[in-house]
Amino acid sequence: MWRWLRQRWTLWVGLLVLVYMFVPIYYVVRLSFDRSNGRLDYDLNGTFTTEYWHSALRPGEMRDAVINSLLIGLIATVVATILGTLMSFALARHRFRGRASTNLLIFLPMATPEVVMGSSLLALFVSAGIPLGFVTVLIAHVMFCVSFVVVTVKARLAGMDPRLEEAAMDLYASERQTFLRVTLPLVAPGILAAALLSFSLSFDDFIITNFNTSATFTTFPMYVWGSSLRGIPREVNVVGTVMFGVAFVIVVIGEILSWRRRRSLRSALRASTLPTS
């Protein structure tokens, strides 16, 4: 018994930590179904209700804020993914002067506290006389997403077998065809992961947005923050629950797809007569 425990204690401690990570999520879901006794009530009261799930859809400040967040998230993701993917190709595939300083330029934003990034951008916008709002928030979000895209796509590129591209070239594919038919499909999962990461970073960002937005342009985290001062409507937990559900479904679908792909790849390899290394 003692021996059995000793061999598995890391697994049990690990699982306990995982359970701990889900506790606040459980509370967010519970709170979205729990009748509140006024705006400053943060406690679970144990009365089940679905009224917040109906009222969350009503037009109003919160719905506008969610729409703004989605819009910023989508545009920032597209721009950051393009910029970051181009950069990661340069870094993973080419030797050139200035590589080290480029790596530093990409690493620094990830190592800088968000308050410093947010406040420095604010200092720039104010001294350049640029009015704060949609555009400044978008600029800031693209800025902090790019580095994460580069790191994610670069990792995928580094793990790729260069012989696949060489084989395509040997079979008389042009450089362009090789890129479109071999390289891009192989990197695509990395790019997709980077885009999802960007979107979640952007959608969830509060600190940098707090510094670079105006009073009239509100994202969802800004709405939660603003209302936390005068009492938080329970509807925000509905948004939190939906976000969690959507993200979980996306990730699970991704896992199933990659699992099936791996399985079909394995059976294809087994069926082929070529020796596999």
């Binding site: 000793r6 890391t10 401690v13 690990g14 930590v17 995982l18 701990y20 990570m21 889900f22 606040p24 999520i25 509370y27 943060y42 406690d43 679970l44 181009l86 950069m87 190709f89 340069a90 080419h94 030797r95 050139f96 480029t102 530093l104 934003p109 506290p113 968000e114 308050v115 410093v116 990034m117 406040s119 420095s120 604010l122 200092a123 720039l124 104010v126 001294s127 800025m143 790019v146 580069v150 260069p162 012989r163 591209e165 060489e166 070239m169 040997d170 090789t178 959608f203 600190i207 510094f211 985290p221 939660v224 936390s228 925000v236 937990n237 948004v239 939190g240 993200a247 990730v251 896992e255």
Partner: protein, 308 residues
């Protein structure tokens, strides 16, 4: 075939079959291409990350007697730094203390979790990894607010603790340093687990078998094999936890009191509430400098350069 790849590919890993018609133009394009690929992204980061830092530095040296409306005069007022450090020393102290405790607890919680996922989970590895990042699926602010409910005076946890012997009946968890650290630990734990997992996953189980063949106990094997090999993950994880925790102000605002405010709160209120830009900018720079120095010392000490 791969020999041909090495001949033709030159610096790049893609083998290019030599084409007689355009050898010179191709070589030139190959030299320019990486710069073209880098240009948009590097430009964006230079203009919106580096330039703002320069602008922030300039702001930190403005004459503090100016105002946002009337404009500031550039007087190389280095005293802003001394004033900032003097006025906000307690905030710096609290930030350092809270983020160090956070990093340490995250390491203690995260290591077994990362180890379990990397070495013991078998085919559930990916599922468990998804669970680690699951907190990210809800909003940061909502997660923090959920702790407000969990630690609330009317919540089950506080009532349970109050019923225990030796625990005072008026015990409070919310609005204490404990609550702030609790929120910080929860919010930054995944940043610790993911790099730890990445380095523990590469750990070859046969090394541990070899260690036990050589009569190492499980603790000795951990100390001599597992821990040194996972050092890059430990360094990356502690940095990724410590840096955002030191600059955070959300947990201190939502879970703490004015007596638990951190340096991030000071910067936020100087910038966005008081509109005292020069001193706020100086505070930002002191924070960044302090973090850079700590990180450099730490990376030297830990003896690994593989942080990037």
């Amino acid at each position: 075939m791969s020999a041909l790849g090495h001949l033709g590919g030159g610096g790049s890993s893609v083998a290019v079959p030599p084409r007689a018609s355009e050898p010179v133009a191709g070589a030139k394009r190959r030299r320019v291409l990486p710069y073209l690929l880098l240009l948009p992204g590097a430009l964006w980061l230079t203009v919106f990350f580096i330039a703002p830092l320069v602008s922030l530095f300039a702001t930190s040296l403005y004459d503090p007697t100016g105002s946002l409306q009337d404009g500031y005069a550039m007087t190389w007022h280095f005293a802003n730094y001394a004033d900032a450090v003097r006025d906000f020393l307690p905030h710096f102290g609290r930030s350092l203390a809270y983020s160090l405790i956070t990093t340490l607890v995250c390491l203690l919680l995260g290591y077994p979790l990362a180890y379990a996922i990397a070495q013991k989970a078998g085919r559930f590895k990916n599922l468990l990894l998804v669970c680690v990042i699951a907190p990210f699926f809800t909003s940061f602010l909502l997660r923090t607010l959920a702790w407000k409910t969990i630690l609330s005076d009317n919540g089950g946890l506080v009532r349970f603790l109050r019923d225990l012997p030796l625990v005072p009946d008026d015990l409070r968890l919310l609005a204490t340093p404990f609550a702030v650290v609790c929120g910080l630990i929860y919010n930054f734990l995944p940043f610790m687990v993911l790099p730890l997992y990445a380095s523990l996953e590469k750990l070859d189980g046969r090394l541990l078998e070899a260690a036990s063949d050589l009569y190492a106990g499980s603790f000795a094997a951990f100390r001599k094999v597992t821990l040194p090999l996972s050092m890059p993950g430990v360094v990356a994880g502690t940095l990724l936890t410590f840096i955002p925790a030191a600059g955070d102000y959300i947990n201190a605002s939502l879970l703490g009191t004015p007596n638990t405010t951190m340096i991030g709160n000071a910067i936020q209120s100087r910038f966005l509430v008081v509109n005292d830009y020069p001193s706020a900018a100086a505070l930002s720079f002191v924070l960044m400098g302090a973090i850079l120095i700590l990180v450099l010392i730490y990376v030297r000490r830990a003896g690994t350069e593989e942080v990037v």
